[in-house]
Amino acid sequence: MAAEQKATKEEVKMDLFEDDDEFEEFEINQDWVENEEQVKEVGLQWEDDWDDDDVSDDFSHQLRKELETISADKK
């Protein structure tokens, strides 16, 4: 019984201090200036056309070599 209680307390402790990602408070009476720069910056942060046909990287070279050994085996 005592062991169980201890275990639940451990659990409770864990839950109590959870959430490493608590958002920091903003100052109440201050607002910040939003500008075009900020909005533009977001657009420069992501890529959605990365899925290209380029196989010139190292990984692709090694993959190609690996696949060629199959055809070599077959011959």
């Binding site: 109590l16 959870e18 903003f26 420069l44 992501w46 959605d48 899925d51 196989v55 696949l67």
Partner: protein, 413 residues
């Protein structure tokens, strides 16, 4: 604790009482905020606490003047809380502050205009912080923590007070965010639902009226909830809003938003640029992004293992694990492109044993039946367009667009 003479103590307490009553009379919200911010540990509050300790019974002073005794109950609880706080008796400090807060909220209801809204925010913030400290004290003494939960109840009460037709209603989103922080800390995020429903459906609220800083915080937390529920398009909208409108100087907050937004974007086939990961120190995602770019399943598994604890703690592990299918798609596409280089006529036929060989090279051991299974899933989820020729153990790819891009939509939608 500094030595204070009786005379000096008397002076300090009276000065505070005058300031408090003056702030209320002249509707001086910034002044009132300063008088209530225990957590600021301002010299004036600390010296007041020392004075209270010397004077022992400040209620004599409060009763001396009608002006003061009008707020007698509020002030008595406030003073008791401050004294306990100064002594480090945080459970006592919380209990007295809770009484103060209840009395203050009653008074606040009677003030017709919304002049004291910021002071109310301070009360909400302070009670949450005090409750957290009180719970730490309780657990360190082997007792059950329950003050943060109690603070949550009080915050709900405050929410109810603000959920009316008057000008006070713009404060509801701030209180909501305090509730979110409370529930997330307690691990009772399901309780967020009712207050979200109020904010988003109650007719008295016009979401556009709320201050932007509260909207940013609101979108961050509701965005996180959407991630937990794997509603990626909704999570994208909310977290992106938070990112776009967050104060750009608050880099820690921006980093937190990105921590959740990046897995969401990846699930929608959009990748973050390296500069973004560098700037906000999100190195844990670098290998994940690389794995997706290259089609490197081994790298993905390695990346998930390396940062397993971190990803589990933030709750994004499962989201990242599911990226595996997209990495498979990329790998299949690479195999197809490589085949096209040497034998374009037959490139659209992917032999299962070729796929198996590539997988074995990436330290994934699968027999042909398992490979067939994976390919079936990819086709079913529209990551690969084609069909399985079971007898010849070949995947026949569609001649047109055999590897459809997600285009901002989650897999299989």
């Amino acid at each position: 604790m500094a030595y204070v003479s009786m005379g000096e103590a008397h002076r300090r307490i009276t000065e505070y009482l005058n300031r408090f009553c003056g702030a209320v009379s002249y509707q001086d919200s910034p002044m009132l905020c300063r008088l209530l911010s225990f957590s600021s540990n301002s010299p004036s509050l600390l010296s007041l606490a020392d004075a209270l300790n010397v004077f022992q019974d400040a209620s004599i002073l409060i009763r001396q003047s009608d002006k003061f005794s009008e707020y007698g109950e509020i002030l008595a609880h406030l003073f008791r809380s401050l004294q306990s706080y100064r002594f480090g008796n945080l459970v006592e400090a919380y209990l007295a502050f809770e009484k103060f807060a209840n009395a203050f909220v009653q008074e606040f209801r009677n003030w017709e205009s919304a002049w004291a809204l910021e002071a109310l925010y301070v009360v909400c913030y302070e009670i949450r912080i005090l409750a957290e400290k009180a719970d730490k004290e309780l657990t360190s003494n082997g007792k059950s923590p329950e003050k943060l939960k109690a603070a949550g109840s009080l915050l709900m009460k405050v929410f109810g007070v603000l959920a009316g037709k008057g000008p006070k209603r713009v404060g509801a989103l701030y209180v909501t965010c305090q509730l979110f922080k409370t529930y997330f800390k307690l691990g009772t995020v399901n309780l967020c639902r009712s207050v979200i429903r109020s904010i988003e459906t109650a007719r008295i609220f016009d979401y556009e009226e709320f201050p932007r800083r509260d909207k940013v915080t609101y979108m961050y937390y509701t965005g996180r909830l959407e991630v937990f529920n794997e509603n990626f398009p909704a999570a994208d909208t909310k977290l992106s809003y938070a990112l776009q409108h967050c104060n750009p100087k608050r880099e820690r907050n921006i980093r937190m938003i990105l921590k959740y937004l990046i897995p969401v974007k990846l699930s929608l086939g959009i990748i973050p640029k390296d500069e973004l990961l560098q700037k906000y120190n999100l190195h844990e995602y670098m290998n994940v992004v690389q794995a997706l770019r290259k089609g490197d399943l081994r790298l993905l598994r390695h990346a998930l293992q390396e940062h397993e604890d971190r990803f589990l703690r933030s709750g994004v592990y499962l989201v990242l694990e599911k990226l595996e299918l997209q990495v498979y798609q990329r790998l299949m596409k690479k195999i197809y492109i490589i085949q096209k280089l040497s034998d374009p006529a037959r490139a659209h036929q992917l032999k299962l044993e070729v796929i198996a060989k590539a997988l074995r090279w990436l330290e994934i051991d699968m027999d042909l039946d398992e490979v067939e299974c994976i390919m079936t899933i990819l086709i079913y989820k529209n990551l690969v367009k084609g069909y399985l020729a079971h007898k010849s153990k070949v995947v026949v790819l569609s001649k047109q667009d055999p590897f459809p891009k997600l285009n901002g939509k989650p897999v299989g939608s």
